[in-house]
């Protein structure tokens, strides 16, 4: 008789997360207006995208929303070759996980860039990208399905 050495298990939990008012508004504006909303700190003038409700530098609430227009550039990114467990739906490896800079925002937005491996390998910081929006938007960051190199 062998001793018991391994027990298999699984944890499945359901959540209903509240995004809070600031991210809630960001998601609503994505859904309703294909609009990227940021907030500006009234003390430091820094613009946060995605928006957050509190400025850690001024220690003040941030409520002043601003619309970000224009296409982003690549700040930094990595080509993901090993599919993570939560691989973005409808996307195959390799894809790029990227931090994107927008004119008018002082923080970066995390998103994905989808293109051929060759195009992804050629992308470098500063290169321009453009969004591909979903037809049916439901108020998540994936309402922008992904970004593509502007010169694709």
């Amino acid at each position: 008789m062998e001793d018991v050495k391994i027990l298999n298990g699984e944890i499945v939990l359901d959540y209903k997360w509240s995004p809070g008012q600031t991210i809630g508004k960001f998601l609503t504006n994505l859904k309703d207006g294909k609009e990227l909303s940021a907030v500006r700190c009234s003390v430091t003038s820094k613009v946060f995208l995605p928006p957050q409700g509190w400025s850690p530098y001024a220690n003040k609430k941030m409520t002043k929303f601003e619309r970000i227009v224009g296409s982003p550039t690549l700040k930094t990114g990595t080509i993901v070759y090993e599919a993570p467990w939560n691989k973005p739906e409808g996307v195959e490896v390799p894809y790029m996980l990227a931090a994107l800079s927008f004119v008018g925002a002082d923080t970066e937005l995390l998103h994905i860039v989808v293109a051929s491996e060759e195009k992804l390998l050629a992308l470098k910081p500063g290169d321009k990208l453009k969004p591909v929006w979903k037809e049916e938007r439901i108020g998540t960051i994936r309402d922008i399905d992904h970004f593509v190199p502007e010169n694709l």
Binding site: F26, V47, P50, T78, I79, Y81, L97, A99, D106, P125
Partner: protein, 402 residues
Amino acid sequence: MGRKVAITGIGQTKTKLKRKDVNFSELMGEAARQAIEDAGLTIDDIDCVICSSSPEFFCGINEPEMFATDFTFGVMKPHYRIQTGGTVGASTGITGWYMVSSGLYNNVLVISGDKLTETSVQKGLSLVYSPTMGRDFAAGAPSAVACQTRAYMHRAPEAKLEHLAKIGTQMRKNALYNPNATLKLPQISEDMMMNMAWLSTPLKLLDSCPTSDAACAMVLQSEEYADKNPRPKAWVQSVSTIAEGVNYPDRDWSVPIALKEAARKCYAETGITNPMEDIDVIEIYDAFTSQHLIWLEALGLCDVGKAASQLIDSGATRMDGKLPVNPSGGVLSNNSIGGSAMIRQAEIAMQIMGRAGEHQVEHAEIGLAHGWGGAIQFHTIMIMSKEKEIKDSFENRKKRKG
């Protein structure tokens, strides 16, 4: 400053990637028992226990300290758990220091560890991203560090993939002399590193740490008790734990401002003016090869953007170099997350005590232990010396160097 504090006992669990022979609590208990014995103390001598691990999703038990209490000498004693992600082991050691330095307790046992091999680590790591913003794209730790590495290589064009291969080889060679390293690759070479498949560009498979089951424990004693303890000791001279924001304005991923601030504070408190000259041995939290370049630059060991040439090509951080970094083989050779940042402190303490065996650095008088956690934004530093007063350790070094 508070009271003087010394590390007098160390425990590290047995070398093996998977510890199928023990459960979480037993693993933690193993390290705890070793540390108490190593300090020459008994359970009754310990007046407070801090027993920590990384996020609960890794071991799959909520409040794992609940069961671990029985095994870690916490019964009928103050027993705490803290949690700061990858830094948790270092934060636990630093919390122990605060407990003793503040005068609250005289003999504190700190333990930190985890069993990472029992679930999908990257799944757990992706769960640290916000569910309403970011988790959609979370691809574990490698992708975040890959972005950081890409940013560094863009800022410091001299840093190439070959440097990452050199670092990975250097660490795995060091690990061969450390009985507690869990990943042993005698066949390691720069070619082997370069020939690995991409994990997440510019990182290849062996640029990453392994996942291990490991725990580490230490006994910290106040000056009054440490002076009476004949065991070798390492005196803790300065500690710092600093956090950056997760996504703050004008962030440069390759410049860890929290680490720079932690270093500034600890150097000022200890009188270190030129870390390359004033420190004998360093252990950094190098979950990925590229972090040698980023963390060591932030610690002020080289000119900005010159870590690859000044620290790696020059051989400065090798075992026979001017300032050996990670004689243990680092996190690249053993990563349980929960235990990893405390192991950095324990390894420096062992070096200072002259008890590091085959991976001992000659004349280790002053050492620095670093910890990293959060997304890429928590940093800790602990500086130790052989002498109770660090000025005496500086003096010893001066005499030796003539």
